[in-house]
C-alpha cells in the first residue's frame, strides 16, 4: 500500500496516525515567528499578540518563506493566565523581541490557592482572538502545512498565576494543596484546548516546562505532575504532543505515560538513549538548539546538528523551544535542505 505523502501536512498527519512516511517532517508545535516574516509585513513583534490577522500572517510566513511545515499561534505563554484574570505586559515600548509576561499574579499567598474558575474561561481574554487567528491561518496555509496551537501544562500554568517560589516549596510541603490547584487548572486547559480544536487545529502541544528535571525530581514529576497531564491528554481529540525542555532523560518514559501521542524534548536530552528506552514506535520530536544552533550557528553546524537529530532517532526534526525570531535565512534553508536530502 502506498502512503500519501503528497503534502507536508499529510505527511505529519500520517506520522501522528502511526503510518509510514518517506522522510522525517520538519515542524514545531511552539512559536514559529521570524523577523524575516515580520519584515515582509512590516509588523512589530509587540503588536502581533492582540491582532488575529497579524498573528496568522506572521505564523504563516515561516511556511511561506522557508517551507517550515507548520503554522502555530499564539507566540506567547500568557493566554490561559490572561483568561483567568491576570494582566499581561506585551512590552509595547520595545523594538526588541520581548515575549509577553504576566504583570500581576492571581494568587499571592497560600490561602488564595483555592481559585474559582470562571465558567466562560475559554471565551475570556484573548481566547476569541486566538480562535480567529487559527481560522485565518487554516484558510491561508492549512491545506499544505499543519496548523497547531499550544496550551501550558497544569504545573507551568500554576507558575504563571502564582509565585513560582511559593509553588515549588508548596509542591514539597503541601502536595495535596498543589494537586488540587493543578486539578482545577487541568479543567481550564482542557476547555481552552477544546476551543482550539473546534477552531480547526490539526494538533495541540502541551508545554509543561515548569516540571523539567532541572527543577523538579522525577519522583515528584511522577506523583504530582503526571496525574494531571494524564487528565489533560485523555480529553484531547486532536493529535497532540507533550513538550518539556531542560533535563528530561529520567522522565521521558513518564512523559509518554501521560497519554500524549508524541513527546518533545530539547538539546539537553540524549535522544539516542531515550529512543532505546521508549522503543522504536513511540513518537519522539526534537531536539536542536533553536538559539545556539539555528540562530548563532553556521549553516554547516545546522546541517550537522540536524543530521545528528535524525541519526539519534527523532521522529520529527523539531526545535527545543520556540523558534528564536532572528534566524538567519541561510540557516533556516540549511535545516530544510538537510531534512529533504538526508536519510538515516
Amino acid at each position: 500500500m502506498t502512503v500519501d505523502n503528497s503534502s507536508p501536512r499529510q505527511r505529519i498527519l500520517n506520522l501522528f496516525a502511526g503510518k509510514k512516511t518517506d522522510r522525517v517532517p520538519c515542524f514545531s508545535g511552539m512559536g514559529n515567528v521570524t523577523t524575516e516574516g515580520l519584515k515582509k509585513f512590516g509588523y512589530k513583534f509587540a503588536e502581533l499578540h492582540s491582532n488575529a490577522k497579524m498573528l496568522a500572517d506572521a505564523a504563516a510566513s515561516t511556511y511561506k518563506l522557508f517551507g517550515f511545515e507548520c503554522g502555530i499561534v499564539p507566540f506567547d505563554l500568557c493566554v490561559e493566565a490572561e483568561a483567568l484574570g491576570c494582566e499581561i505586559n506585551v512590552y509595547a515600548h520595545s523594538d526588541d523581541i520581548l515575549y509577553p509576561t504576566i504583570k500581576k499574579k492571581l494568587i499571592t499567598n497560600e490561602e488564595e490557592m483555592d481559585i474559582r474558575i470562571p465558567s466562560d474561561v475559554s471565551n475570556r481574554g484573548r481566547m476569541p482572538l486566538m480562535k480567529d487567528a487559527i481560522r485565518h491561518l487554516k484558510s491561508d496555509i492549512g491545506d499544505n502545512a499543519v496548523i497547531g496551537s499550544y496550551v501550558l501544562g497544569p504545573f507551568t500554568l500554576a507558575g504563571q498565576i502564582m509565585e513560582l517560589n511559593d509553588l515549588l516549596k508548596l509542591s514539597f510541603k503541601k502536595p495535596d494543596k498543589v494537586g488540587k490547584l493543578l486539578d482545577n487548572l487541568s479543567d481550564v486547559i482542557i476547555s481552552v484546548a477544546k476551543e482550539y480544536e473546534s477552531a480547526g487545529v490539526d494538533f495541540i502541544t502541551v508545554r509543561e516546562m515548569g516540571a523539567t528535571s532541572d527543577v523538579l525530581s522525577p519522583r515528584v514529576f511522577k506523583s504530582l505532575i503526571l496525574p494531571y497531564l494524564k487528565k489533560v491528554f485523555s480529553e484531547l481529540k486532536s493529535a497532540n504532543v507533550l513538550h518539556i525542555c531542560g533535563k528530561t532523560n529520567d522522565i521521558a518514559v513518564f512523559m509518554l505515560e501521560s497519554g500524549a501521542k508524541a513527546i518533545s524534548v530539547d538539546q539537553k536530552n540524549d535522544v539516542a538513549e531515550t529512543r532505546k528506552k521508549i522503543g522504536s514506535n513511540a513518537l519522539l520530536f526534537g531536539n536542536y538548539d533553536p538559539y545556539n544552533v539555528l540562530v548563532s550557528g553556521t549553516p554547516e553546524l545546522v546541517h550537522e546538528t540536524i543530521k545528528k537529530c535524525i541519526d539519534s532517532g527523532v521522529s520529527a526534526v523539531w526545535p527545543g523551544c520556540d523558534i528564536w525570531p532572528t534566524v538567519p535565512p541561510d540557516n533556516f534553508k540549511a535545516m530544510m535542505d538537510t531534512v529533504q536530502q538526508y536519510r538515516r
Binding site: S94, Y99, N165, L168, K169, K173, S217, D322, W324
Partner: protein
C-alpha cells in the same frame, strides 16, 4: 564538654539545619551561637555556608532539586538574620558591592535570588533590581552606586540576548566594571563572545567567580594608583 566541643556542636547544628531545611533549628542554633559568644563569622561560614555547600553537592548529585534548594535557602536566611547584625566585617579577602537583577522580559528570579544569597552571606552590599529589569536600569544603577560587579540573570533563551546589550553599554560607560551573566541557557561560549567577565550556571560558581573578579579588579586599581603616585 569543652568550649571547643560545644562550638563544633553548634556549627554542626547550623549546618544540619540548612541541609535539612529546618528554619526553626537554624534560628535556635544561631541563638545558641550568640549566647555562647561563638565568633559570628565562624558561625556563618563554618556553619550556615558549609551547610549550603553540602546542599550544592546534593543538588549536583540530583538528590535535591529546586524546591529543596529554596527551603534550604530559607533556613540559611533564618540563621543569617540573627547572626548578621553581630558580624564584624567579614574576611573573605575582598569586599565589594554588586548590582544584580533579571533582565527585561524575564520574570524568573529564583536563580538570581540564590546568587544574591551567596553575596549576602559573603558580606557584599547588594543592590537588587529585582526581575524584568529594563536594560538601561542596570547601567544607571551601576553608575549610581559605583558597584564593582554587575550580575545579569536570564532563565529563558528568549530574554538572554538582552544581556549582550547591557554588557556593551556597561563597558562603554565604565570599562573597569566586572560583569557576570548567569542562568540556565547561558554558556561559557556566550559569555566569551559577549565580553562578560564571568558566567555561572549555578550559585556556587557565581560566588567563586565573583570573588576572583573583584580581587583582580582591586588589584588593577591598586596597580594603577601605584603607577600614578610613583
Amino acid at each position: 564538654m569543652t568550649g571547643e566541643d560545644r562550638k563544633q556542636e553548634i556549627l554542626e547544628a547550623l549546618k544540619n539545619a540548612v541541609v535539612q531545611y529546618d528554619e526553626d533549628a537554624a534560628k535556635e542554633a544561631a541563638q545558641k551561637a550568640l549566647d555562647l559568644d561563638i565568633n559570628v563569622n565562624d558561625a556563618i561560614f563554618n556553619g550556615l555556608v558549609s551547610g549550603m555547600e553540602e546542599v550544592g553537592r546534593l543538588f549536583e548529585a540530583q538528590e535535591y532539586f529546586v524546591p529543596e534548594l529554596l527551603m534550604c535557602a530559607d533556613a540559611l536566611y533564618a540563621g543569617l538574620d540573627l547572626l548578621k547584625p553581630h558580624a564584624e566585617t567579614m574576611d573573605l579577602g575582598v569586599k565589594g558591592s554588586v548590582v544584580i537583577g533579571t533582565v527585561e522580559g524575564d520574570v524568573h528570579d529564583i536563580g538570581k535570588n540564590i546568587v544574591k544569597m551567596m553575596f549576602d552571606v559573603a558580606g557584599f552590599t547588594v543592590y537588587d533590581l529585582g526581575r524584568d529589569v529594563p536594560l538601561d536600569k542596570f547601567v544607571e544603577e551601576q553608575l549610581r552606586t559605583d558597584s564593582d560587579l554587575v550580575c545579569l540573570s536570564a532563565m529563558m533563551t528568549t530574554t538572554m540576548v538582552g544581556m549582550q546589550k547591557v554588557i556593551d553599554r556597561l563597558k562603554e560607560k565604565n570599562p573597569d566594571v566586572k560583569i557576570m551573566i548567569g542562568g540556565a541557557p547561558v554558556s561559557k561560549e556566550l559569555a566569551d563572545k559577549w565580553g562578560a567577565d564571568g558566567y555561572a550556571d549555578d550559585a556556587n560558581n557565581a560566588l567563586k567567580d565573583a570573588i576572583n573578579m573583584i580581587s583582580s579588579l582591586k588589584k588593577m586599581k591598586e596597580d594603577a594608583e601605584a603607577k600614578k603616585s610613583s
